[in-house]
């Protein structure tokens, strides 16, 4: 049996609906159609009245989820594309993120963001927005990179008492496969050593973990032994695992698909430099997508985002420092 990353997301939602009567899903085209990417395929049939089609109203989708969560429900909101969550930005960052701080009433909503690019998607169906949402206190931001994490972390996201921005990567939907869904896993707020190594720490998350692992394979042939850390959760950030790795390797390369300004890479590097400057033998480096809107044509798109070749080249340079 082969289970994809997308199947894992569907199965996690099915399990949550089965196990908890307070769970429901709200989003555009998710009921009869099963979602633009089929992440809710057949769920409306299996759980009548609990998988609801929403009007094209991202603000009201999130606002209503907040109201339902206040009343004890555990809503899952599917954004059709991460990019469209910009329309709900106010509800997410001003209403959901501040509710517990202001009122001591929890806001357990899960907002699923189909993130990242596929070839041909262009500027408005390709964005990765974890850096933006991580900026706001009160939000939890998860970025699963594996089939196993997609499953267990989505279940944890639904259980968490705070608003969770669940960044699921569209490029991984049908490309990642696993034999079975896990019974247990690391807790969501713990980073994972995806590949052990001693020469350089490559920190990545979401689909960039796979580019980093591929780069590590190349580097291995050149006798560079790279350690790859999968952050898994961007906020809260498990900086301890990163610092421990840097203590072993003394070199840090951060890779993320979001734009460079004020992003996850910047935060990881700032944390390592401020808390572990003495551990470093070389200046930390970062690789992001280019600082432009995301191009449509595959020729441009493949050069816009970080690739294993670019990661390997940067790692090589750092190791020669």
């Amino acid at each position: 049996m082969s289970i994809t990353y997308l199947d894992a997301i569907r199965e996690a939602q099915a399990k949550a609906l089965r196990d908890n009567p307070r769970v429901y899903i709200y989003g555009q085209d998710i009921a009869t159609f099963g979602g633009a990417f089929k992440a809710t395929k057949n769920l409306a049939k299996e759980f009548p009245g609990r998988v609801l089609d929403a009007p094209i109203s991202e603000d009201a989708m999130v606002g209503s989820a907040i109201g339902a969560a206040i009343e004890g429900m555990r809503p899952i909101v599917e954004m059709q594309f991460a990019d469209f969550s910009a329309v709900a930005f106010n509800q997410i960052v001003n209403q959901a993120a501040t509710l517990y701080w202001r009122t001591q009433v929890a806001c357990p909503i899960t907002i699923r963001l189909p993130s990242g690019a596929n070839p041909g998607s262009g500027p408005f169906h390709s964005q990765t927005l974890e850096s933006i949402y991580s900026h706001f206190p009160g939000l939890v931001v998860m970025t699963p990179a594996t089939v196993e994490d997609a499953y267990t972390m989505l279940l944890e996201a639904i259980e968490v008492d705070d608003p969770v921005i669940f960044c699921e990567h569209k490029y991984l939907y049908n490309r990642l496969k696993s034999d079975a869904l896990p019974e247990s896993n690391l807790p969501f707020n713990t980073a994972r050593i995806a590949r052990a190594g001693r020469d350089i720490s490559i920190v990545a998350y979401s689909s960039m973990v796979h580019e980093a692992l591929s780069a590590a394979d190349h580097l291995h042939k050149e006798n560079i032994d790279a350690e790859v850390i999968d952050l898994r959760c961007i906020k809260p950030l498990d900086i301890n695992t990163v610092l421990a790795s840097v203590a072993r390797t003394a070199r840090l390369l951060c890779v993320g698909e979001s734009w460079p300004w004020g992003g996850v890479n910047s935060e990881v590097i700032a944390s390592v430099v401020t808390q572990g400057f003495h551990l470093l033998d070389a200046p930390p480096q970062r690789i992001n997508s280019k600082d432009t809107p995301i191009p449509f044509h595959p020729n441009l798109w493949s050069a816009h985002k970080p690739s294993s070749q670019v990661i390997a080249a940067a790692a090589r340079g750092l190791c020669e420092w």
Binding site: I66, A68, W101, V105
Partner: protein, 344 residues
């Protein structure tokens, strides 16, 4: 007895009960006493941040508060002191929040009109207009999931807030779901300094209801008896399963946008129109005409409200203020996350 705008006819005899009217009037009196005290505390420098008052809107706000029933949901906006009190807010909780008392709703973390007890159906607005409507709609959706029927969720907004996308998205969504949502649009003629003529181009905001496929009502917001009648009918319609109700109450903001605003831009001739009537005076006149009160009982009620406010202020001022040394600085409810932050 309704005209073409679903508005009660002016010449109709209001079928209002003495008990409900005097109850609402007491909340109006108390609200005005609370707000006059807030203004004076603000002028004395005892309050940080803005003070936004509901002078002129007490009738419609109190009417909404009294037609709601226990278990209903209420999402008040900035000029709803009367409705908040009628819905169950204690005067001391008002002053606790304005002072930043450690025992207040938000313990100094958020102030003034952003207070509420959301878990008890009393929602705490944020400053972004229109965004509370979908929250109240979502709370109603949850009640439906839980099988808790026969409740309504009410929220208010001003003329300016109707121009937001959030207003449109939320009412449309509530209409699709046929939720028992009551949206009271209080058209007080100005959004901060912007008059109706620069805010919308439709004939009457109540006309918008038809576009959403919901029931619309218009009411004279200066007339408590009419407000009780129309809001009572609208909440009844929502409660009985007829879907969202939009009520447009017309009145005039009898104050600046906030206490720091002298409202120099307002068209002073509006005060001479029926819109500019003070709803307190209109209600007092009604009580006297019906012989439900005489001048001495009105004076006694007003005095009692002032005493109640003084006591609340005195008690709230004794309480310790928000204190950074005991603040957790943790915005997360999840134990696993909070514990890790608090260790640091």
């Amino acid at each position: 007895m309704l005209d073409t705008l679903n508005r009660p006819r002016r010449d109709a005899v209001r079928p209002v009960s003495r008990e409900q009217f005097t109850n609402a009037f007491h909340w109006m009196l108390l609200a005005r006493a609370v707000e006059e005290k807030l203004a004076s505390l603000w002028r004395a420098g005892k309050i940080f941040g803005g003070v936004y008052l509901g002078k002129g809107q007490e009738a419609v706000s109190a009417a909404l508060g009294v037609v709601l029933e226990p278990g209903d949901i209420f999402g008040p906006l900035i000029r709803d002191q009367a409705g908040r009190l009628a819905f169950g807010e204690a005067p001391i909780d008002v002053f606790r929040v304005y002072f930043g008392s450690r025992t207040g709703f938000s313990r100094g973390r958020d102030g003034n009109v952003h207070r509420g007890k959301p878990a008890e159906g009393y929602h705490a607005m944020i400053s972004h207009l229109g965004s509370l409507i979908s929250v109240v709609a979502g709370a109603l959706l949850a009640r439906r999931f839980k099988g808790d029927t026969g409740v309504v969720g009410a929220t208010t907004i001003g003329d300016g807030g109707t121009s937001t996308g959030a207003f449109h998205e939320a009412i449309n969504m509530a209409a699709v779901e046929k939720l028992p949502l009551v949206v009271v649009v209080v058209n007080n003629q100005y959004a901060f300094s912007t008059p109706n003529s620069r805010q919308f181009a439709c004939r009457d905001l109540a006309d918008r209801a038809a576009g959403y496929g919901v029931e619309g009502h218009s009411v004279d917001g200066t007339d408590l008896a009419e407000c009780l009648e129309v809001l009572g009918r609208a909440t009844g319609r929502a409660r009985a399963g007829h879907g969202p109700q939009v009520i447009v109450a017309s009145c005039l903001r009898l104050t600046g946008h906030a206490e720091h605003d002298d409202a120099f831009y307002m068209d002073k001739s509006l005060y001479q129109t029926p819109l500019g009537r003070d709803c307190m005076k209109v209600a007092e006149q009604f009580l006297l005409e019906r012989r439900w009160a005489d001048q001495s009982s009105l004076n006694a009620w007003t005095q009692a409200a002032k005493v109640q406010v003084e006591e609340a202020v005195t008690d709230a001022q004794r309480e310790p203020l928000a204190d950074p040394s005991i603040e957790t600085w943790c915005p997360y409810a999840t134990a696993k996350i909070a514990d890790a932050l608090l260790v640091r």
